[in-house]
Amino acid sequence: MKYDQARWTDDSDDLYEPLLSEKTSKTVDIEDSPLPDDLTRDSLSLPDPAEPELARHYTRLSQMNYGVESGPFPLGSCTMKYNPSFTEDVAARADAAIHPGRPDSTVQGTLALCHRLQDYLGRIGGMDAVTLQPPAGAAGEFTGIQIAKAYHEHNDDERSEVVIPDSAHGTNFATAAMAGYEVVELPSGDDGRVDIEALEAAVGDDTAALMLTNPNTLGLFERDIEHVADIVHDAGGLLYYDGANLNALLGRARPGDMGFDVMHYNVHKTFATPHGGGGPGAGPVGVREELAQFLPNPHVRERGGNYEHYEPANSIGKVHGFYGNWPVLLKTFAYIARLGDEGLRDASAKAVLNANYLAEQIEYEVPFGPFHHEFVASAGEQDAADAAKRMLDYGVHPPTTKWPEIVDEALMTEPTEGETKRSLDQLAAAFNAVAGDSDAELADAPSRPAAKRIDQVTAARNPQLSWQALDDM
């Protein structure tokens, strides 16, 4: 196991010293520069480690970090699955390193690959056209909502509101606001799904779109989806699919077939491209035929055996300075090609099985059901955040906590298909051990990792965001 806790607990306090500190930084004076003095700085102070020191520094930091290859990582809705080494190798190919300023005729291979990936994603989502430009899921949301906005404006139909269920990802709300819309929050029904009566009351002439995740963040399939689509479409709105949970449906249902007009794919969740500690991601957006004219510029098409960029007729413009996060797209392509139809179907089936199996094994109350790929347990009398810290002591990464808010002390859990029965049993044992622990044990957790409970209140009250700002420097 590369996640080496023992090693860092034995280390000295120096381990917490940032690289850019007095001990390792060096100041150079800038004289005799090829520029006049008034255009240049006079000195630069940055770390100056020798390469072996650099290697040790980052190796040590890596040992202070938990990844999917360190152990189970059941962060609900974040979808942390095993990342094949193979897709990394494909993305690291020297011949994939291309400058975006080249003419189309000189990058036929890159464009062909983009075109093939657009096609694959369209088939998987049941969408007619797909752009690869958005560099993350939230950027995909922004793209999708801008497309919806352009569609309404194109039809001289100004609309001011976007409807979003209370269980939705926070990015949905932020995206709608960023695009200039008012947000109408939709309360969930008693079964954790969209409340049809509430929906009918919320949707009207001002509704530009309903943003929906299906299965939703409770892991529940919105069984009334066709009815939901009718209500939104009858009011003249569009149906937006948040692709964060698409990994639960591969080959069983497609957003396009359910009535969704526009969707984004979280390729790092649905397929497998590493999260990289918080990015890079990629958030391709799919639309049905009628909306293809609004896709970002440029789009890739094939003509007479050649591939080219072109600007869709009523394009919303650009959502990334160039063409998006290309290396991530390359990994996505490799992953989809490796799995094919059967592999993608199998991945979904096992993700769903694993979630249901784990839900069955744990002693915390798990409301609602049946589940797809994730479920939300309630820590009940315990504080979910404390319970999560205690799980660290049992050697696994905890689930997402305190969200969605519609479950008290939520422990939102998504094991993914990458876990074996054995590792699920290990996870269940950790859950159940914590469930039996006292409040005092929870409050003192974690005790096993080198870093004990971190004081986040002080961090926010007295922000020290760089080495230069540290009080004790």
């Binding site: 990058v107 709300f173 490796r338 592999g343 096992k350």
Partner: protein, 447 residues
């Protein structure tokens, strides 16, 4: 061969055996895997995607086959995306799975490594800019500029809706800015440039009390070092507008600190360190003054202490973020470019301050030398702006620029066409070895 493995028709990354699957189905009380899906018949998908599974080897061959259709060109291309040599140790260390396969640091006790690396990244940007607060990444320079524009509207005391940008701005950057500006009803307008730099008197005529932000770049998209940043900053501040400067970490290693020329926000692409070319793959940097701290978009890593009183790092001020504040968040950015920031910090540390300053100085002298050599060619004038350049410059060609680009491509070189008779050339350490051949080819095609 790989098709003989037991996962030929399933996912090779879903590792349960058939016996385990059966045992698990038994526990959940399901007859088979399909019965676990709670999808109504009317929306169930029973078709095929038509995507054939390939072995690892076949997939590699397919990608190699597709990419081999790209022309083999030596790229003298820039305009916001740069090829600087990335040392092997960066690839090696950044590929450690504990970094690569981790998530956003929601449990800081087991994410100290990545948090510290991001804290170091933030610290590096603070040193380079002289400003107080750097976030730990945006998508790219264009989206960072868009976020700066929306920040200006939130922090500016007088209401105003105009964003002034230079006439010479990369088209993609301007287009992204326009998209960000649409929701909050900001208007993006250009101010003129003269001889490659901002026309400050003309900017003075354009700017007004309804200006929310003035944006300038150094180096500009044409590779010119902007000489009057202080005057631009003064103009912005005279009108209570935010002054936003675009640059990159290599240029900032040599150029005057942005804080000293009045910059309130620095944006740009930090991917010039750590990634090389990757078809426009970026790393947006965002640095600002402390007074705007609570309006900063994106994630911030802060120092704190753990229960044993030792220094520890954590994501902080998360009440700005969308998972807490929803529609009142400062931005919708969630997943950012953390791993790229890690790579950039590693590359900067590998170079050290001497290496960074040397590299930046080389960016000035290489461009100067190559422009001089092209200028010696009959039918070519370079650079067209009699100013200091960084990495790149414009050349005027008697031949149409489109013909120069096409003819050079036939000889194995890529340059940008900027206008009818203007091409742009960028040189870094990765193309220095090819410079002699490039100049010879240019001489032939410029006739």
């Amino acid at each position: 061969m790989s098709n003989s493995n037991s996962h030929a028709t399933g996912s090779p990354y879903a590792p349960q055996t058939a016996a385990e699957t059966a045992a698990m189905l038994d526990v959940v009380g399901a007859d088979d895997l399909e019965s676990l899906f709670d999808v109504p018949e009317s929306v169930a998908f029973d078709g095929e995607f038509g995507i054939d599974a390939r072995s690892e080897r076949a997939t590699r061959r397919e990608v190699a086959g597709l990419l081999s259709r790209n022309a083999d060109l030596t790229e003298f291309l820039g305009r916001g995306h740069y090829d600087h040599y990335v040392p092997s140790v960066v690839d090696d260390l950044a590929s450690r799975s504990e970094f690569l396969t981790s998530y956003t640091q929601y449990q800081p006790e087991v994410a100290q490594g990545f948090l510290q690396a991001l804290f170091e990244f933030q610290s590096m940007l603070v040193e380079l800019t002289g400003l107080d607060v750097a976030n730990c990444s945006m998508y790219d320079d264009a989206t960072a500029l868009g976020e700066a524009a929306t920040l200006s509207q939130r922090v500016r005391s007088v209401s105003g809706d105009r964003i002034l940008v230079p006439e010479h701005l990369r088209e993609g950057k301007r287009a992204v800015l326009s998209n960000y500006a649409e929701g909050p009803d900001l208007t993006v307008e250009s101010y003129p440039m003269t001889d490659g730099v901002a026309d400050v008197p003309a900017l003075a005529d354009e700017i007004g009390d309804d200006t929310a932000m003035v944006y300038a770049e150094s180096p500009t998209v044409r590779g010119v070092i902007e000489e009057r940043l202080g005057a631009i900053g003064d103009l912005a501040h005279d009108h209570d507008a935010l002054f936003c400067l675009g640059s990159d970490p290599i240029a900032l290693s040599l150029l005057e600190r942005p804080a000293n020329v009045g910059a309130d926000v620095v944006v740009g692409d930090a991917a010039s360190l750590g990634t090389g070319t990757a078809y426009g793959f970026g790393l947006g940097m965002f640095v600002t003054r402390e007074e705007y701290l609570r309006q900063v978009p994106g994630r911030l890593v802060g120092a704190s202490e753990d229960a044993a009183d030792r220094r520890a790092y954590t994501l902080t001020l998360q009440t700005r973020e969308q998972h807490i504040r929803k529609e009142r968040a400062t931005s919708n950015i969630c997943t950012n470019q953390a791993w790229v920031a890690l790579r950039t910090a590693m590359h900067a540390a590998w170079l050290g301050p001497d290496g960074l300053v040397d590299l930046a100085e080389d960016c000035v002298t290489r461009a100067r030398d190559l422009a001089d050599r092209l200028d010696d060619i009959v039918g070519v004038t370079a650079p067209i702006h009699g100013r200091h350049h960084f990495r790149e410059f414009l050349a005027h060609t008697d031949q149409p620029a489109s013909a120069i680009v096409a003819d050079l491509a036939a000889d194995g070189f890529a340059v940008h066409a900027v206008d009818d008779h203007l091409v742009q050339v960028c040189v870094t350490e990765t193309t220095t070895d090819a410079t002699d051949e490039f100049v010879a080819a240019f001489r032939e095609v410029a006739k």
